[in-house]
Amino acid sequence: MAAPTDRTDAELLARRKRRSLALGLVLGALVIIFYVLTIVKVGPGVFDRPL
């Protein structure tokens, strides 16, 4: 088995960073979707309740 070169390692790390960034964006989008969906489904009154 040929050992990966440094150049390969740098490329793999760059790709991993891009995958992490993409996953972060997807998770961020999900947070927004669930937030807006809650407001749309339940209404702004969702925040108007006694503590």
Binding site: M1, P4, R15, A22, L37
Partner: protein
């Protein structure tokens, strides 16, 4: 820490597949071109449905249907990696090309399947979510795992999976399955066999090499061309039903007649063509046109609907 140490696998090729996949490779697993057609037909079902829907819920519903379709695409690529590798059309897909690990595709498909169904249920309703779950199951299990390698009727029955999106869009708005939703389903269902058999006619060698029993390989070219012509005639007949039941008006009727007649003409030309090169060319023409046909028909539904709202059609 070096990237080569990140993946707990021995083989270098596996390391590259597991640690070196690009975001685009994972996106390619979702079959974006199929997804775009699913988004379009689901959106049409959603727009045509009576009653209306909150725009954000509508957006989430279409997103879920698209992601569900993408998930079933990933599950399809996971299972079919062996035959994808021997067909020219599919050899460069992420798994056979060695860019994505097969298990990763399975995990992605399963996670997105569950997520899209649950989110659609929470956002719209559980009938639409149930239909989406059934669609994913139908495509991944009944078509991909069972029918595709077992019978030349694979794409006839399996075509049902691709026919559900407009019905799901309709159900997301109304919470019901109506005759109109069934007609949208039927149009795609009847469109699928001539579309894929035209492809199978000029890609016969690929399917034979992969051992997939497509109709041209099993029943021969002549029988396939007869089936294409028959399905085309039934498809055009069904596409003309909506104006008669008040589901569409003049704009749609004109579009359905004109595009339908040309569809039948191309199917007839293919049926009449015997010489091999000309036959492949005719099959390719029908395959390419069939994509435009479906797009125009569904666009005509929406145009007609909008025309009726503003009093033109």
């Amino acid at each position: 820490m070096k990237a080569s140490q990140l993946a707990y696998v021995d083989d270098h090729r596996e390391i590259v597949a597991a640690a070196g996949a690009r975001v685009e490779d994972y996106f390619a697993l979702l079959k974006p071109r199929v997804m775009s057609l699913v988004v379009f037909t689901a959106l049409v079902g959603l727009l045509l449905a009576p009653g209306g829907i909150n725009p954000f819920i509508g957006f989430v519903a279409v997103l879920c249907i698209a992601v569900g379709a993408g998930a079933s695409g990933a599950l399809n690529m996971w299972y079919d990696a062996d035959i994808d590798a021997v067909m020219s059309r599919t050899a460069n897909r992420p798994i056979p090309a060695g860019r994505v690990d097969r298990d990763d595709a399975l995990a992605l498909g399963l996670i997105l399947s569950v997520f899209s169904v649950v989110l659609l249920g929470l956002a719209a309703n559980w009938l639409a979510a149930g239909l989406l779950a059934f669609t994913i199951l139908f495509y991944a299990v009944i078509y991909t795992i069972w029918l595709k390698r077992a019978t030349p009727q694979n794409i006839v029955i399996g075509g049902a999976a691709g026919s559900f999106p407009p019905m799901i869009g309709w159900a997301a708005v109304t919470g019901t399955v109506s005759i109109e939703g069934c007609i949208l389903f039927l149009i795609i269902f009847l469109w699928t066999p001539p579309h894929f058999w035209a492809l199978a006619l000029y890609k016969q060698g690929d399917y034979a090499a992969a051992g997939i029993p497509m109709l041209p390989n099993v029943a021969g070219e002549r029988a396939t061309k007869v089936q294409i012509l028959l399905y085309s005639l039934v498809l055009v007949a069904v596409s003309l039903v909506p104006p008669f039941i008040g589901f569409a008006g003049g704009i749609y009727a004109v579009a359905a007649v004109v595009t339908g007649l040309y569809f039948v003409f191309l199917a007839w030309r293919l049926f009449r063509t015997r010489e091999d090169v000309a036959m492949r060319k005719a099959a390719r023409s029908l395959f390419a046109y069939s994509l435009s046909y479906l797009f125009i028909i569904f666009l005509a539904f929406v145009t007609d609907h909008l025309g009726q709202i503003i009093g033109v059609a």
